[in-house]
Amino acid sequence: MLGDYAGVGILLAIALTVPIGGYLIAFLLRPKRPYALKKQTYECGLETAGDTWVQFKIQYYIFALVFVVFDIETVFIYPWAVAYQQVGLFALAEMIVFIGILFMGLAYAWRKGALEWI
């Protein structure tokens, strides 16, 4: 089984040469004349105001949260889908219960307005 992953490892090694080679070539070719004004953070032509840590919406977190729960659900779905043809209707019944329970979660999040981008 590990032999199958040799190709992946080699592809990883070769793929690494693209960004590293790019950095190297660019390092040799490009000019380098930095000064303080050039290195300022870009902000619509003005000097940057205040801290970078602005207060983010909690909504980003809520979506990530719902995503994590559904991501784990998909982890259970893969083995189920692959084994389905050998088990048959019982598997379908189980998955209907599984998805039904999670659907309640989605419906709850929907009703509570957790899926609204305010």
């Binding site: 977190y61 994590v68 729960v69 991501d71 784990i72 982890v75 259970f76």
Partner: protein, 103 residues
């Protein structure tokens, strides 16, 4: 060939690093990260024992590991939500400052 003790060593080291992180950090998020590392050490143990002791078609260790990962992720989701709730009420994530229960 790698002996089973090698994996157990890595797992034990990982667990203890996580333990140190959970005990020493002040930030609640960092404590949760330490706990997460400890759970990962447990999963590594489960899989190592499955592979070396009982590599049968029943895949007991792997099935167990899948459930542990599920629980770990659920725990992170709720734990972080709790931290965010505390942060919104008390404006801090430092566990030493959250001492409302001390009275």
């Amino acid at each position: 060939m790698v002996p089973l003790a090698g994996y157990l060593f890595v797992s034990a080291a990982l667990f203890c690093i996580g333990l140190y992180g959970a005990l020493a950090r002040r930030n609640a998020v960092a404590i949760l990260m330490g706990i997460e590392m400890m759970l990962n050490a447990a999963v590594l143990n489960l899989i190592a024992f499955w592979r070396y002791i009982n590599p049968d078609a029943a895949l007991t260790g792997q099935a167990f590991a899948v459930f542990v990962i599920t629980l770990a992720a659920a725990e992170v989701a709720v734990g972080l939500a709790l931290i965010i709730a505390v942060y919104r009420n008390r404006d801090t994530v430092v566990v030493d400052d959250v001492n409302l229960m001390k009275g």
